[in-house]
């Protein structure tokens, strides 16, 4: 019994799947953002698992490339959260709701 690459990939996929379900099924815009953050988190776990089990410490040309990619994902997630939550507050100020089913001004 030992922990291998496939175990980490499975956990990452489960977190990503729960994130998909939350992002699709929730009405509140802030809850949808939580689902997106969970999806990014599952992807980060997959990156680090491949980096660890793929021998990133021994790679001569690009050591720890997976770790560097995760750093950029963290950066973009922070920027995305700041802008998305600002938009949620702005929409609430104009429409008094953050319910995505009721923000349908542009519906055809």
């Amino acid at each position: 019994m030992s922990v291998e690459l496939a175990h980490y990939l499975t956990v990452g996929a489960m977190i990503f799947g729960v994130g998909i379900a939350i992002a699709l099924a929730k009405r509140n815009a802030i809850a949808v953002l939580m689902g997106v953050e969970l999806m990014l988190n599952g992807v980060n776990l997959t990156f680090l698992a491949f980096s660890r089990f793929g021998g990133a410490f021994d790679a001569a040309d690009a050591p720890l490339a997976g770790h560097v990619f995760v750093v950029f994902v963290l950066t973009v997630a922070a920027a995305e959260a700041a802008v998305a939550l600002a938009m949620a507050v702005l929409i609430y100020r104009r429409r008094e709701t953050v319910d995505l089913d009721r923000i349908n001004l542009m519906r055809w």
């Binding site: 019994m1 030992s2 922990v3 291998e4 690459l5 496939a6 175990h7 980490y8 990939l9 499975t10 956990v11 996929a13 489960m14 977190i15 990503f16 799947g17 729960v18 994130g19 998909i20 379900a21 939350i22 699709l24 099924a25 929730k26 009405r27 802030i30 809850a31 939580m34 969970l38 988190n41 980060n44 776990l45 680090l48 491949f50 660890r52 089990f53 021998g55 410490f57 720890l64 490339a65 770790h67 560097v68 995760v70 750093v71 950029f72 963290l74 973009v76 997630a77 922070a78 920027a79 959260a81 802008v83 939550l85 600002a86 949620a88 507050v89 609430y92 953050v98 995505l100 089913d101």
Partner: protein, 171 residues
């Protein structure tokens, strides 16, 4: 063959991470959902530690478990009339089906695939090394252009967020 400690740590942290992610879906109160989200992120940081990613684990606790939930709690508090309920939309059945199908399919593929040397490696087979210095070298060397673009992106996002939520001043 890994030691018992790492196996117990992996299964415990995985159960907490996935379980509290499901709890975010099931929680009826948005504030409870944020707290469960923090728990999931902290457990994932523990999984990062088992993968020898010490710097990323610290950054995960600071950014994902620290800064982003604070923003989310602020956003929930600033939208009081929108309610605290974490209700579902009409897409709950397709959403759960799609998420479950994705997780099952990727799990089957990951377990069945031939990963070669990477799949045969175990956590105990490699030594724990600190990563912060190597990541710093990579960020300011090979990936310096992407690093600078990321800094401009962060600046633009922060200025954009401030401009978006600023109250209009009377002229």
């Amino acid at each position: 063959m890994d030691s018992a400690g790492i196996i117990v740590a992996f299964w415990l942290l995985s159960a907490i991470a996935v379980g509290s992610a499901v709890g975010v879906f099931l929680a009826r109160n948005l504030i409870h959902a944020v707290v469960l989200l923090v728990l999931s992120f902290v457990a994932t940081a523990g999984l990062f530690v088992t993968l020898s990613a010490d710097f990323i684990a610290a950054a995960q606790v600071l950014i994902y478990a620290g800064a982003i939930p604070v923003l989310m709690v602020f956003a929930v508090m600033l939208t009081p009339l929108a309610g605290r309920d974490n209700g579902n939309s009409l897409y709950v059945v397709p959403g759960v089906l799609l998420g479950g199908a994705f997780a099952v399919i990727v799990a089957i593929v990951a377990i069945d695939a031939e990963w070669g040397a990477a799949g045969a490696a175990t956590l105990a087979g490699q030594s724990f090394e600190t990563t912060a210095d190597a990541i710093g070298d990579a960020l300011l060397g090979r990936y310096v252009l992407a690093f600078e673009v990321a800094s401009v992106l962060l600046l633009a996002a922060l200025i954009g967020a401030i401009v978006l939520v600023r109250e209009d001043e009377p002229a």
